[in-house]
């Protein structure tokens, strides 16, 4: 029996019971649309978490002196050679920055706080959150800028403001205590308060001169494609054997764990939705088979093979599934598109920060995910039709026709 005829037969059978098949279609559509939207939200969240991890000064890859992670101080510094990044191809590298990051105490006239003083070259910081963070007052001009940029939360604690003076105490490269006055150039307003309280920024060269060294404590690399991270880490490590080269997953294990967890979550969601769907699907297919006992018996009697009966039922399921999945994907994509401006989580900003998310959740549709979803749904449809198909195959022509 030609396949074309079987498809035709299956399709017609579906239209014999428009109402219930429409319900089934609707259910599949809701399930697939639901998974699509949730999937896009999870992907958006993942992207957010990775960006937050990468942008908060980590970068995709970081080069540190051994020992700096345990004891982040100027004693663990290094001088990057001129051509240290020649091992990374220009195509993969979006940008890099050298920094001096040391623990320090910052004092205003009223208050004292501990933080990390970071000497940065503003021209290179387009790779971190510093590049586009809103700033009240002025940004740092260049690597020689001797003013300081502090976070909003810290400025509030210190009761300081743009143009005021603060004093920073830290340890110099020779181990002695260094103290310097800074004028506040600007106040940055990061997404949460953690960065605002943890870092203050000044010009790289100025901080180096304050500490009495020309070395840096870290090199941070931003890549064009996250997937290249591991290769870049290997290349750099081979080039800089005496230094520690780390990926963002190693530097931010929590963010990496969250990221990996989100991947699993997508599959769990899918299985749950399909699980809920399968009862209705099997139920409808079985009814469709049982109603047609006599008819199927007749077909068998006039010479239709068992295989053809089986294919017919499986096709019926696959057809409903295809239609439902198509509609569902379209509906899900439209929903995700409607949410393109993001879902405002600012009411839960602090909680979102705890979970490594930004305060605006923007869904992301990945073609690969949609294809996978469609394929898995169809697979599920075929799987669900096996039992009804088996029932249909078991029909004995003679007995069925006597009914």
């Amino acid at each position: 029996m030609p396949v074309g005829l079987l498809v035709n037969l299956s399709a017609r059978n579906l239209f014999r019971h428009r109402r219930r098949n429409a319900m089934l279609l609707l259910a599949i559509c809701v399930a697939v649309a639901g998974v699509t939207v949730l999937n896009s939200l999870v992907r958006g969240m993942q992207e957010d978490m990775r960006d937050a991890a990468v942008e908060n000064l980590t970068g995709h890859v970081k080069v540190l002196a051994p020992g700096y992670r345990d004891d982040p101080g100027i004693q663990h510094r290094f001088a990057p050679g001129k051509d240290w990044h020649s091992g990374v191809s220009g195509d993969a590298l979006a940008g890099w920055a050298a920094r001096v990051v040391v623990p320090a105490v910052i004092m205003s006239e009223r208050e004292t706080r501990g933080l990390q003083l970071a000497g940065v070259d503003p021209a290179r910081e387009s790779i971190s959150f510093l590049g586009d963070v809103p700033v009240l007052g002025e940004r740092l001009q260049d690597a020689g800028d001797n003013r300081i940029l502090v976070g909003r939360a810290l400025a509030e604690q210190l009761e300081t403001d743009v143009g005021y003076r603060v004093v920073v105490i830290t340890r110099g490269a020779d181990g002695s205590t260094r103290e310097a006055g800074f004028r506040v150039a600007g106040i940055f307003d990061a997404d949460g308060t953690a960065l605002e309280k943890a870092f203050a920024f000044s010009g790289l060269r100025y901080v180096q001169s304050l500490l009495g060294t020309g070395d840096v404590t870290e090199l941070s690399l931003r890549l064009r494609d996250d997937a290249a991270t591991d290769a870049v880490v290997r290349n750099l490590q081979a080039r800089l054997p005496e230094l520690q080269v780390l990926s963002w997953q190693e530097l931010e294990p929590q963010a990496a764990a969250m990221y990996a967890m989100a991947d699993t979550a997508i599959y769990i969601w899918f299985l749950v939705m399909m699980g809920a769907l399968i009862f209705g699907l099997v139920n409808t297919l079985i009814t469709a088979v049982m109603e047609r006992t006599r008819e199927l018996g007749m077909l068998r009697a006039v010479g239709m093979r068992r295989g053809a009966v089986l294919v017919q039922v499986v096709l019926e399921s696959a057809l409903v599934m295809t239609a439902g999945v198509t509609l569902g994907l379209v509906a899900g994509a439209v929903l995700a598109w409607m949410l393109r401006d993001g879902i405002d989580l600012s009411r839960w900003a602090a909680g979102a920060e705890l979970a490594g998310m930004s305060s605006r959740l923007v869904p992301r549709l990945l073609p690969g995910d949609l294809a996978l979803l469609a394929a898995m749904s169809l697979g599920f449809g075929v799987l669900a039709s096996l039992y009804p198909a088996w029932r249909a195959v078991k029909i004995e022509p003679l007995e069925a026709m006597r009914r």
């Binding site: 990996a260 969601w269 769907l277 209705g280 602090a350 979102a352």
Partner: protein, 418 residues
């Protein structure tokens, strides 16, 4: 037809198509099982998160000067601390209370110095309010004046060990230098990088003396008998305490805050999780609802002839509808019963052995105030939500197709082939 009869016929009808009944009830069971079990895990983990978070340092309720809450300035401490603590301890719902001083210091040992948050605590009462002392990994808990307990990372950065001395410098209330020497008696590890790197504890008497804050207190930390008593206790404290303390005109405004206000990020993280969970539950229940609607569409169409007979012999359409609603109730009961049974069995088992989150998740769990093993617990909310929603859902699912019965003409219905 009497009500009892509608019920009986409904029950019998159910078994005319066993497979369909079980498949439909199976869908309901799946939804109930999934939602009940995950809600038990979810709500149970919230409870443990809340308990872990509050028992670390925050306590259940904090009493501070309203100015201190706003500005966190050293001088905004409440005076007559002893009297205030005595007053607070008498309020109903206060299981224990402890005074705490907070100051920023530069901690140094030898050549090294790091900025850190200093907490001045009264060791005996502190241990009754929070269980911070359980986080000590080397040495022992703080016992008397002159001693200090440091975060593990801070100690490593400073290069000190148990038995060494550390110098703490800060600015006192009147602007002078506050200096304090403590002998390190213990190191703690909370798992939260910020605390392990930047927190140290000393005796409250030392801190008060060094910072010129005699008989003052920054925070009175209160423990209530359990988390459910927190809101009640906050109300009781607000009524019992004067709006300004001390009560004369020069008093500072008093602010009573529950842990939810002190740790908004925890409450919000729980809320986000709740919402994303609810999204999944609703989609699953709607999907199962569709499958129930479908079952009733099939039922009603297959039995058109039967309904025609019933109508022809004088049965009211409404009676037939009541009968169908009973069928929906039975399907719901079968599904919910099975689902609840499976869910409670699973939850009871997991409640005993716990869910291990895996090595990778351990650090993450600690940062999120979560224990490394999750113990789901039964709550009324978790047990009742899905069954109730599914009840309404199945009833609605049965009503929609059976509306057709109202429009059924007995004569035409009888002619439909069986």
């Amino acid at each position: 037809m009497t009500g009892a009869m509608a019920l009986q016929i409904g029950w019998r009808n159910l078994w005319r198509n066993r497979r369909r009944t079980w498949l439909t009830a199976g869908g309901v069971a799946f939804a109930v099982f999934l939602v009940v079990a995950t809600m038990c895990v979810q709500l149970g983990s919230y409870r443990t998160m809340e308990e872990t978070a509050t028992s670390l340092l925050t306590g259940h309720v904090q009493i501070q000067s309203a100015d201190y809450v706003e500005e966190e300035r050293l001088e905004d401490a409440l005076s007559a601390a002893g009297l205030l603590a005595a007053r607070v301890r008498q309020v109903e719902g206060v299981a224990a209370a402890t005074p705490r001083m907070e100051a920023f210091v530069l901690a140094s040992a030898g050549e090294r110095s790091f900025g850190a948050q200093l907490l001045g605590i009264e060791p005996q009462s502190h241990a009754r309010v929070v269980s911070f002392h359980e986080r000590i990994i080397h040495g022992r808990d703080l016992r008397s004046a002159g001693e200090g307990v440091l975060g593990e990372t801070l100690a490593r950065n400073l290069g000190v060990e148990v038995g060494d001395e550390a110098v703490l410098l800060g600015s006192a209330r009147e602007g002078g230098v506050a200096a304090l020497v403590v002998r390190v008696v213990g190191l703690f590890r909370t798992g939260m990088a910020e605390l392990d790197r930047g927190l140290l504890l000393a005796h409250i008497d030392d801190v008060r003396e060094a910072f010129e804050l005699q008989d003052r207190v920054h925070t009175l930390v209160v423990r209530t008998p359990d988390l459910d008593a927190v809101d009640r206790t906050v109300d009781a404290l607000v009524t019992a305490l004067p709006p300004r303390w001390p009560e004369d005109a020069g008093g500072e405004p008093v602010r009573v805050r529950s842990w939810q206000e002190v740790l908004p990020e925890l409450r919000q993280a729980i809320e986000i999780d709740r919402i994303s969970g609810a999204l999944m539950y609703w989609i699953v229940m709607v999907l199962v609802g569709f499958s129930v609607v479908n079952t009733f569409i099939m039922t009603v169409y297959e039995r058109t002839r039967e309904f025609g007979v019933l109508l022809a012999i004088g049965m009211r359409p409404r009676r037939i509808m009541v009968m169908l609603q009973w069928e929906a109730v039975f399907i719901w009961a079968l599904g919910t019963g099975t689902g609840l049974l499976l869910a409670t069995a699973l939850v009871a088992w997991l409640g005993r052995v716990g869910i291990y989150l895996g090595e990778e998740m351990e650090q993450l769990a600690r940062e999120m105030y979560m224990p490394t093993r999750l113990y789901p617990t039964f709550t009324t909310e978790a047990l009742l939500t899905a069954p109730l929603v599914m009840f309404v859902g199945t009833q609605l699912a049965a009503v929609l197709p059976s509306l057709r019965i109202l429009r059924l003409e007995p004569a035409t219905a009888l002619r439909v082939p069986a």
